[in-house]
């Protein structure tokens, strides 16, 4: 027989007491796991949905002057200004971290004039732009045909154009299908057309002025994605849109600290409750402990006995708490986020949960163990 055996026998044969201890650990572990997993899921999904809001990486030519600018990219007034080629744009989708890339939206910028007004004609892929500019509201419809255009709010006013009106640029007639609501940015001054139409019209086949990239970055540092893009397109500056990153990180941080603080509070409560119950248990076992001391058990042996009980309870409670907490989290996520993907049952979080729970059991046992170890053997003999 070993001290561990005695601890186990005590737990098994004083079922009521063990059950209460076990239940408290299970309860606090369940709550902690549930909260942590649900918040972690919320956090990931919030991170992802933020990524979907817009581009967080800008790929621009290395040099630029200050003519007409759009998102700090200059539209040069010469004929071979498209610095990138389609190949560059396709190569972004071949970086190692390509799974983190949501959308790649290349653009060609061309200064044009119409009715004595100078403005930029931006050739874009409307389907990609839609992904990247989720906040854009349009009066009318998104263009999809090669001769259809979308007008910025101000330029529509200056040109006095409405939906259904025609627009003649560089000898080609375009149909206005939509007008962008006021953005308060350069976007208000721009006319958007199909990228291939613009490339063909100005002899810029295969040329691209700059590229906006939206990357999911909850699982990787955005810096790494940016670095991998620069490796693929050496003559580009890859700009991380710090503002976007910061906001997203703030959101995540808030969620993360929320879940950690609450999980820790729950675990501390669990610790306090289990400690108190174990102290009560030790007080009821005074006689037994004194007998053990009088037959030669050292203080450390007595402390071991109590700590092992804490560890066993913590271990078993951790396993049960993890299983219940995870099942609860799965149900909760289903209820509050029906569209979300399923929660994964990974080994590593399970091992962590069980380790933390075992540690919780041992820590809860420390005060009771010290108390038990400090009992003097004489007390048991006094009343013989």
């Amino acid at each position: 027989m070993k001290i561990e055996t005695i601890a186990l026998k005590h737990l098994l044969r004083s079922k009521k007491q063990f059950f209460i201890l076990f239940a408290s650990i299970v309860l606090s572990m369940t709550l902690a796991v549930l909260l942590f997993v649900v918040v972690d899921k919320l956090k990931t999904d919030a991170g992802n949905s933020f990524d979907e809001i817009g581009a967080n990486i800008l790929v621009v030519p290395e040099t630029s002057s200050r003519d007409l600018t759009y998102e700090s990219v200059t539209a040069h007034n010469s004929n071979n200004r498209g610095v990138f080629s389609s190949r560059d744009y396709i190569s972004i989708n071949t970086i190692e971290r390509r799974d983190n890339i949501a959308t790649v939206a290349p653009k060609i910028l061309q200064p044009v004039s119409y009715q004595n007004l100078d403005f930029i004609l931006a050739g874009i892929y409307f389907q990609f732009e839609k992904e990247i500019k989720k906040w854009w509201r349009i009066e009318g419809e998104w263009p999809f045909r090669e001769n259809e255009v979308l007008l910025g709010y101000k330029i529509a006013g200056s040109l006095n154009e409405k939906n259904g009106d025609e627009l003649l640029i560089s000898g080609k007639s375009f149909l206005v299908t939509g007008i962008l609501t006021e953005q308060g940015t350069e976007e208000d001054e721009i006319v958007y057309a199909n990228i291939m139409t613009v490339q063909n019209l100005f002899g810029l086949e295969d040329k691209i002025s700059f590229i906006e990239v939206a990357a999911y970055c909850t699982t990787c540092p955005i810096e790494e994605i940016a670095r991998q893009i620069s490796e693929k397109i050496p003559d580009a500056s890859v700009i991380i849109m710090a503002e976007a990153v910061k906001t997203r990180e703030n959101t995540i941080d808030k969620f993360a600290s929320f879940s950690i603080v609450f999980s820790v509070v729950i675990l501390i409560l669990g610790f306090a409750i289990v400690s108190l119950m174990m102290i009560t248990s030790v007080n009821h076992r005074t006689k037994e402990i004194e007998i053990l001391r009088s037959i030669g058990y050292r203080k450390a042996h007595i402390a071991d006995l109590i700590l092992v009980e804490g560890a066993i309870t913590g271990l078993l409670g951790g396993i049960a708490g993890y299983l219940i907490g995870m099942s609860g989290a799965v149900q909760t996520i289903k209820a509050i986020m029906p569209a979300a993907s399923n929660i994964k049952w990974d080994m590593i979080p399970a091992v962590y949960a069980i380790l933390i729970s075992t540690l919780l059991g041992v820590l809860s046992g420390i005060i009771p163990a010290v108390k038990a170890a400090s009992m003097e053997p004489i007390e048991s003999i006094k009343r013989i």
Binding site: M1, S14, K287, Y297, R298, A300, H301, P377, I381
Partner: protein, 227 residues
């Protein structure tokens, strides 16, 4: 050659504002292999003497040597080790651990020893057989009779092969038949050379012991015969 030597042992217990002198300058020596009954009126200091002998209750003054070791000068851990190797206690029935079976109670002193598990079990079963409980290894104390509990307590006291057995009124709550059985067990242990010291009120136990310590008013009178 004396196994135990008490030199001017005094024991004072706090008593209200002052002190109560439970033992007053007791000097006595006990040889290896003796079988001693400690008797005396209630409150005279018998249990106090026994617990001092058992390295459980430090005296207020004086020294006690067991096997030439000044036991109370040892550290707490070493005192525990000393109890484990030298001394077997027999408590009254309530002193079995309630959630452990007879066998497990007897295994308790071995759980902190270096004996491997199998050897431990063999030793525990041997002593249980010896005290006549060969068929009750797996009974919990709650399901044992008073006499059976005493036997388990004795088995637990001797499983470590101690040199000294201390017992405080081991037959106090038993009927005379069972009490005699228990005394015979002590006698046979004593015949093997173990020093047995027990507190008793029971005159029937006279015939088993070799020597009598009469404790009266905190002092000891050593008698070759029961008085």
């Amino acid at each position: 050659m004396s196994l135990i030597k008490l030199l001017e042992i005094e024991k004072n217990y706090p008593d209200g504002l002052g002190e109560f002198k439970a033992l007053k300058k007791v000097s006595v020596s006990i040889d290896s292999g003796e079988f001693i009954a400690i008797t005396g009126p209630s409150g005279s200091g018998k249990s106090t003497l026994l617990t001092i002998l058992g390295v459980l209750n430090p005296p207020s003054k004086g020294q006690i040597y067991i096997d030439d070791i000044d036991v109370y000068s040892l550290s707490g851990d070493r005192q525990a080790d000393f109890r484990q190797t030298y001394i077997g206690f027999v408590f009254q029935d309530l002193h079995l651990v309630p959630y452990l079976t007879a066998l497990e109670n007897v295994l308790l002193p071995l759980a902190i020893s270096l004996y491997p598990g199998k050897e431990q079990k063999k030793m525990a079963k041997e002593v249980l057989n010896r005290v006549g409980l060969g068929d009750k290894y797996h009974r919990l104390p709650g399901k044992l009779s008073g006499g059976e509990k005493s036997r388990v307590a004795i088995a637990r006291a001797i499983v470590n092969k101690p040199r000294i057995i201390l017992a405080d009124e081991p037959t106090g709550s038993l009927d005379s038949g069972t009490g005699n059985e228990i005394m015979k067990l002590f006698q046979s242990l004593n015949n093997e050379g173990i020093t047995v010291i027990l507190v008793t009120h029971n005159n029937e136990n006279k015939k088993y012991v070799k020597k009598n310590f009469l404790v009266r008013d905190g002092l000891i009178e050593v008698n070759q015969k029961w008085v």
